[in-house]
Symmetry: C2
Subunit: 106 residues, 2 copies
DNA sequence: ATTATATATAACCAATTGGTTATATAAGAA
DNA sequence: TTCTTATATAACCAATTGGTTATATATAAT
């Protein structure tokens, strides 16, 4: 199982995910957006890949990274559920409700 | 700021929180529920305290631990917001909606 | 006062993390 | 082919983590 806590447990990794939210990026583009070295970024990407939060595409000498929305969604649901339970939050069930389509905004 | 990812990043700590959900516990009770040593549990509790996810009460020779629901709620909201944004999830705003009281189930 | 119990602390260990610099490899451009 | 660029890998480092055992301290009970 992907460990979402590990994946999101670092602020640099969270910033990388936010970048990818706004569009797929090559490793070079990501490296340039940060003040740390290429190998350091590479390690963060490796962890995000390992936890299946992002995916990689090979295109010539480039590596193109994108969010893996499916597994993010699954991880999100689990966290929502776990912390929601701790808080006796009805949001988790409300969420199911929304997802089943009973509430639509379109 | 409390680091919720650090706090929840370990399965033993998540189990401790689930225990505390069902009622306040002394350190001894927590130790007895796990197969690891008292100092190991102590360290987990120290991290949870540090991140303000739990609170401690001194009662004679006992230490009584309880969930800190306030900071859990804040951390929860932040995570909800952050990951929700990544997913273009309307849940965050829906959540505000619920919290403002426009939806009631009682 | 002694003993038992709950918690705290110290010292240690192996693995992981987040960074570095230096260098190798792969692909594209001149 | 040579040069440049993008990525990968290796070796290193300090700090953190998650565990251990042994021991100290504080409180309560006999």
């Amino acid at each position: 199982m992907p460990d979402i806590y590990r994946a999101l447990g670092d602020p640099t990794r969270r910033r990388i995910l936010s970048m990818l939210k706004r569009g797929n990026k090559t490793q070079k583009e990501i490296v340039e957006a940060f003040a740390i070295s290429q190998p350091a970024i590479k390690k963060h990407l490796a962890i995000l890949l390992e936890e299946k939060i992002i995916a990689q595409e090979f295109q010539g000498k480039y590596r193109i990274y994108r969010l893996n929305l499916d597994s993010l969604q699954i991880a999100y649901n689990e966290m929502l559920q776990y912390i929601g339970d701790l808080l006796d939050n009805q949001l988790a069930s409300l969420k199911d409700y929304v997802e089943k389509g009973e509430i639509r905004d379109e």
